[in-house]
C-alpha cells in the first residue's frame, strides 16, 4: 500500500537525450541497482528474525504424541481434545479459504484502483449496488454457515453426551481458592492438586469422568492436551471426561479468574499405566504413617491451628479448607504447583506462604524455626 505516488518509469524522449540527461540517466540506473542491493540485504536481514518468529509461532502445532511441557491444544492425547482438533482443522480450512478470497480481493482492489498521478480530475463511475451480486454474497455465506453448524453440532453431541461406560473411573474435582481437591468416591481417596488417572486405549478403554464442584468461587478445569475446559461453579455441578492415550504428566491450570492467586492454581494430571495406577491407589488408601521419631513435629501439627484446615488420616487433623496432607510426600509439588515439594520449600512455605503465593489463604503460623523444622520432619514422613 506504499503507493500514493507511483514512481514513473524513466523513459526519456529522444529529443531529451542530451549529454546531461544521459549522465543523469546513468546515475539513476546506478542508484537503482544500489537500491536493489540494499533491498536484498534488508530482506536477508529481516528474513532471519521473521523465520524465527514463524518457527516460534508454529511451535504449538506439534505432532509429537504424549505429554508436553507446553500444553498445546494441537497436541491432543485424549478423545475430546482430538475430536476438537479435527474439527478445528476443518474450521481453519474454511475460514482460511474465506480469508484468502476476501482478503485477496480487497488487496487487489486497493492496488488496482489507487489514484494515480496520471489520473484526470474526473470522478470514477458511480455504482450504487447490484441486486444479483448482493444476493450471491448473501446466499454463499448462508451455505457456509449451514455446513459449519452441522459439523459443529455433531461434535458437541459426541463429546458432551458421550455415554459413561461401566469401567469409567469417577473423580470429583472441587475447586478452592487457589488449589484443587480430588476425591475418588468409589476408591475412598482424597488428594490435592495432582490428579492420577489410568491410561486408556482403544482395546482397553478406561475413561475418567470428572464431576466438577466448587467450594467458593468460579474456577475452570483446563488441561489442553486432554480436553476442552469446563467451569467449576458453586451450586452448579458440571461433568466432563478424558481418556488419555499416553502415560505421563499433563499440565494445565485454572482458566477462570478466581481471585488474587488465580495464576498459581496449577494443575497436574498424571496418566499412569494400569499397574502404576493400582499401586498408587493402594498407597493412597493407607492411613497416615505414624513414625515415632518425628513425634515432636506431629505434636506441633496437632496442637496448632493446622488441624483446622488440613486432614491427616489417622490423626486428630480433620480440617477440609486446605489440601489433605495424608500422603503429602506422594506429590511432586506444593501450593498447587507453585513450588517443588522439597523439605526446604516446605519450610519456606510454612514460614511465609506469601513468599510463593502472595495472597494464598494459608496464614503464616508464626512458628519458630525449630518448630518448623520439626514440623517439616514430620510432614516428610507422610508418604
Amino acid at each position: 500500500m506504499a503507493g500514493v505516488s507511483r514512481p514513473s518509469s524513466f523513459t526519456p524522449r529522444v529529443s531529451d537525450l542530451s549529454r546531461k540527461s544521459i549522465t543523469r540517466n546513468l546515475a539513476r540506473k546506478q542508484m537503482q541497482s544500489r537500491m536493489r542491493e540494499y533491498g536484498e540485504r534488508a530482506i536477508r536481514l529481516i528474513s532471519v528474525p521473521f523465520l524465527c518468529f514463524v518457527a516460534t509461532c508454529a511451535a504449538p502445532i506439534a505432532w509429537a504424541d504424549g505429554p508436553q511441557s507446553s500444553p498445546s491444544i494441537f497436541a491432543p492425547a485424549s478423545t475430546p481434545a482430538s475430536s476438537i482438533q479435527d474439527l478445528s482443522w476443518f474450521v481453519l480450512a474454511i475460514t482460511g479459504g474465506i480469508f484468502v478470497t476476501v482478503g485477496g480481493l480487497l488487496a487487489w482492489a486497493i492496488v488496482r484502483y489507487r489514484a494515480r498521478k496520471t489520473d484526470d480530475d474526473s470522478e470514477p463511475a458511480q455504482i450504487y449496488g447490484s441486486t444479483q451480486v448482493e444476493l450471491a454474497w448473501t446466499v454463499i455465506p448462508i451455505l457456509i454457515v449451514v455446513v459449519l453448524f452441522l459439523t459443529t453440532a455433531r461434535i458437541i453431541f459426541a463429546i458432551q453426551d458421550a455415554p459413561k461406560p461401566q469401567v469409567a473411573l469417577d473423580v470429583t474435582v472441587v475447586g478452592h481458592q487457589f488449589w484443587w481437591e480430588f476425591r475418588y468416591p468409589k476408591l475412598g481417596i482424597v488428594t490435592a492438586n495432582e490428579l492420577h488417572v489410568p491410561v486408556s486405549s482403544a482395546l482397553e478403554p478406561r475413561p475418567t469422568f470428572l464431576h466438577l464442584l466448587s467450594a467458593d468461587v468460579d474456577h475452570s478445569f483446563w488441561v489442553p492436551q486432554l480436553a476442552g475446559k469446563t467451569d467449576l461453579i458453586p451450586n452448579h455441578p458440571n461433568d466432563m471426561w478424558i481418556d488419555p492415550r499416553h502415560t505421563g504428566l499433563y499440565v494445565g491450570q485454572c482458566a477462570q479468574f478466581c481471585g488474587v492467586e488465580h495464576a498459581k492454581m496449577l494443575l497436574r494430571v498424571y496418566v499412569d499405566t494400569p499397574e502404576e495406577f493400582d499401586a498408587w491407589v493402594k498407597q493412597q488408601r493407607q492411613r497416615g504413617t505414624q513414625d515415632s521419631s518425628v513425634a515432636a513435629g506431629r505434636h506441633i501439627f496437632e496442637t496448632q491451628a493446622c488441624t483446622n484446615c488440613h486432614t491427616i488420616a489417622g490423626t486428630a487433623a480433620m480440617g477440609t479448607f486446605g489440601p489433605d496432607l495424608t500422603h503429602l510426600e506422594s506429590r511432586a509439588t506444593i501450593a498447587s504447583g507453585a513450588a517443588p515439594n522439597t523439605p526446604g520449600n516446605l519450610h519456606a512455605w510454612i514460614q511465609d506462604p506469601d513468599h510463593f503465593k502472595p495472597g494464598a489463604l494459608m496464614p503464616a503460623m508464626q512458628l519458630s524455626d525449630e518448630q518448623i523444622s520439626e514440623l517439616v520432619a514430620y510432614l516428610t514422613t507422610l508418604h
Binding site: 474439527l87 458511480q126 454457515v145 453448524f149 479468574f257
Partner: protein, 564 residues
C-alpha cells in the same frame, strides 16, 4: 477540491466572529454549562482520549509484568486491579463515550438539524458519564481494601459472581465499580434516547430515513440497542449492590444464589455491547471509505438492512460467552447457530465496502489508511469469531489468549482504528485545522506494526494453552518468547498513540487551515464552515439525495436520479 463557498441552502456563507472570552473562569464556565451538541461532543471525545491514555498506560503495565515469567513489576493484587480497570475503562470510559461523542457532534450536522432533540438531557448525560468515570477512578484512593489501603476493583471487568460477594471481595472497590457503571449507564441511556429522538424528529426537509448518512443510521440502531442492553447491566449492578449491602442472595451461592444468573445478566448486556461499540465504527467506515474511493457506498439499502439485522441477531447470542459453564448440548448448539448467523450480515457489510472501493480512485490520506487496515483486521476478527463460535473449539479457546487476541482485533483492530480514522477525518471540521499528515502516517504505520506484533502473536500463545487474567506464568510452558514479543508490540503502540496525542495538540495551533470541505466530501456537515457556527445552519437545508453535496458539485449528474 475544497470549495469554500458551497451554495447549499442554509449554510452560512461567513463564519461569524467567535466570541472569545477574556478570562479563564469565563471560558471554563462556558464549557461547563454548555448545552451545545458540538461542545458536548468535543467534551465527550476529550474525556475519552484522556481515559484512552490512562487505560493504555494500564495495558502497558500489564505487558511489562508479562514480558517475562515470574516478573515482579506488579504485585498480584495490583495486576488484577490493572486488568480490571483496563477493561472497564476501555469499554465504559473510552469506547462508549467517544462514539456517543461523535454522534453528538455529527448526527445533527449530518441530518441538517441545529442541535440534538434534548440539549439539556444531552448535557446531563455527559456529566453523568463523566461522574461515573470519576467514581470508578476514585476507588484507587477511596476503595479501602482489606488493609486500609486504597484499592481499585480487582474482579475482572466481567465481575463474575460470587467473587464479587462480600465474602470474597471485602472493602469497597467492587461497590465503586458497580456504582460507577450504574451512574455512567444512566448517562448512556440519556444519550441513546436523545440520538433516537433527534434522528426520528429533527431531520431537515428531504432527509427521508433512507437518505440519512449511514453513520446516522448506525447510531440510530446502536442507540436502540443501547436502551435494550444497558438495562440488564444496571439491573444486575443493583442486584449486586443489594446482595452486598441489604443481605440479598441473587448471586450469593453460599445462600443458594446463582452464579450463572449473573453471567446471563452480564452477557445479555455484554455481547450486544460489542455491537454497540462496533456498529458506530461501521458507520464511520461507511462515511470515509466512499469519500476516499470517490464512489457512492455500494448497496446502501443492504447496508441499512444488515445493520438492523446485526442488532437483532446480537440480542440472541450472549451465551456463546458461556459454552464452558455447562449448558445442555442443545443449548450449546443453539448459541453456535445464532452466533454464526451474525457472520452473514457482517459479511454483507465487508463485501459492500470492498465493492465500494472496487472501480474507485483511492486516495491514501490518513483516514483512509486507518479504514483500509480496519477492513483487513475486521475480516480476521470475524473469522476468529467464527472459530470461537464453534462450541467444542471454544471449550479449548475460551479464556485463553486466543480470546484476548480475538476481541482486541475487534476492539482495537476495528474500533480504535476507525476512531483514529474518524478523528483524522473530522478534526478539520471541528477545529478548522488539518491534522499533520506526516505525523498521521507515522502514527498509522507504527500503530499498525505494534498492533500486529502484539495481537497476531497472542493467538499463538492461546493455542499453547496460556489462560487470560494470570499475573505471571511458569517459565517452562514455551510462552516466554511470544510474551516478550507481545510486550514489545505493546510499547510500539504506546509510542504511536503518544505521536497521535502530540499531533492533536500541535495541529490545533499550527495545523493547515482546513476550509469547509477539505476532503471533497458529500454529506451535509461539510457544507458548514469549520468549525460550524452555533446552531449550525442559518436556514434549514433541503436535500434531494443521500449525498447532497455531490448533487451540488455535479448538477449534471445528481444522485437522486439513481437512488431507488
Amino acid at each position: 477540491m475544497a470549495d469554500q463557498t458551497l451554495p447549499i441552502a442554509g449554510s452560512l456563507e461567513v463564519t461569524p466572529q467567535r466570541h472569545s472570552p477574556a478570562l479563564l473562569p469565563e471560558w471554563l464556565h462556558g464549557w461547563v454549562v454548555t448545552v451545545d451538541h458540538k461542545r458536548l461532543g468535543i467534551l465527550y471525545v476529550v474525556y475519552s482520549i484522556f481515559f484512552l491514555l490512562v487505560a493504555g498506560a494500564e495495558a502497558l503495565a500489564i505487558r511489562i509484568q508479562l514480558a517475562w515469567p515470574n516478573n515482579h513489576f506488579l504485585s498480584p493484587e495490583l495486576y488484577n486491579e490493572m486488568f480490571t480497570m483496563h477493561g472497564t475503562t476501555m469499554v465504559f470510559l473510552v469506547g462508549m463515550p467517544i462514539l456517543f461523542g461523535f454522534a453528538n457532534y455529527l448526527v445533527p450536522l449530518m441530518i441538517g438539524a441545529r442541535d440534538m432533540a434534548f440539549p439539556r438531557l444531552n448535557a446531563f448525560s455527559f456529566w453523568m458519564t463523566a461522574f461515573g468515570g470519576l467514581l470508578l477512578y476514585y476507588s484507587f484512593i477511596g476503595g479501602f481494601g482489606l488493609y486500609g489501603m486504597g484499592a481499585a476493583p480487582d474482579v475482572g471487568w466481567w465481575a463474575y459472581a460470587p467473587l464479587t460477594a462480600k465474602a470474597f471481595s471485602p472493602g469497597h472497590a467492587t461497590d465503586y465499580w458497580a456504582l460507577a457503571l450504574i451512574v455512567s449507564g444512566f448517562g448512556t441511556l440519556g444519550t441513546a434516547i436523545n440520538v433516537i429522538a433527534t434522528t426520528l424528529s429533527m431531520r431537515c426537509r428531504g432527509m427521508s430515513l433512507l437518505r440519512m448518512p449511514l453513520f446516522v443510521w448506525l447510531m440510530l440502531v446502536v442507540s436502540g440497542l443501547t436502551l435494550v442492553t444497558i438495562t440488564p447491566l444496571t439491573a444486575a449492578q443493583i442486584m449486586l449492590t443489594i446482595d452486598r449491602y441489604l443481605g440479598g442472595h441473587f448471586f450469593d451461592t453460599q445462600a443458594g444464589g446463582s452464579a450463572v444468573v449473573w453471567m446471563h445478566f452480564f452477557w445479555i448486556f455484554g455481547h450486544p455491547e460489542v455491537y454497540v461499540l462496533v456498529m458506530p465504527v461501521f458507520g464511520i467506515a461507511s462515511e470515509i471509505i466512499p469519500v476516499f474511493s470517490r464512489k457512492a457506498i455500494f448497496g446502501y439499502p443492504a447496508m441499512v438492512a444488515a445493520s438492523v439485522a446485526i442488532a437483532f441477531v446480537s440480542l440472541g447470542v450472549w451465551a456463546h460467552h458461556m459454552f464452558t459453564v455447562g449448558m445442555t448440548s442443545v443449548g450449546n448448539a443453539f448459541f453456535v447457530l445464532s452466533t454464526m448467523l451474525v457472520g452473514i450480515p457482517t459479511g454483507i457489510k465487508i463485501f459492500n465496502w470492498v465493492a465500494t472501493i472496487w472501480g474507485g480512485k483511492i486516495r491514501f490520506a490518513t483516514p483512509m489508511l486507518f479504514c483500509l487496515a480496519f477492513l483487513f483486521q475486521f475480516l480476521i476478527a470475524g473469522l476468529t469469531g467464527i472459530m470461537l463460535s464453534v462450541a467444542p473449539w471454544n471449550w479449548q479457546l475460551h479464556n485463553s489468549y486466543f480470546v484476548i487476541a480475538h476481541f482486541h482485533y475487534v476492539l482495537v483492530g476495528a474500533i480504535v482504528f476507525n476512531i483514529f480514522a474518524a478523528i483524522y477525518y473530522w478534526y478539520p471540521k471541528v477545529t478548522g485545522r488539518m491534522l499533520s499528515e506526516t505525523l498521521g502516517k507515522w502514527h498509522f504505520w507504527l500503530f499498525l506494526i505494534g498492533f500486529h506484533v502484539t495481537f497476531d502473536t497472542m493467538h499463538f500463545v492461546g493455542f499453547m494453552g496460556m489462560p487470560r487474567s494470570i499475573y505471571t506464568y511458569e517459565p517452562d510452558r514455551g510462552w516466554n518468547h511470544l510474551n516478550f514479543i507481545i510486550s514489545i508490540g505493546g510499547m510500539i503502540q504506546g509510542i504511536a498513540v503518544l505521536l497521535f496525542a502530540w499531533n492533536l495538540v500541535q495541529s490545533y495551533f499550527r495545523g493547515k487551515k482546513a476550509g469547509n470541505d477539505p476532503w471533497d466530501a458529500w454529506t451535509l456537515e461539510w457544507s458548514t464552515p469549520s468549525p460550524p457556527p452555533a446552531y449550525n445552519f442559518a436556514t434549514d437545508p433541503v436535500v434531494h439525495s443521500r449525498r447532497p453535496l455531490w448533487d451540488l458539485k455535479h448538477p449534471e449528474d445528481p444522485d437522486w436520479k439513481y437512488e431507488a
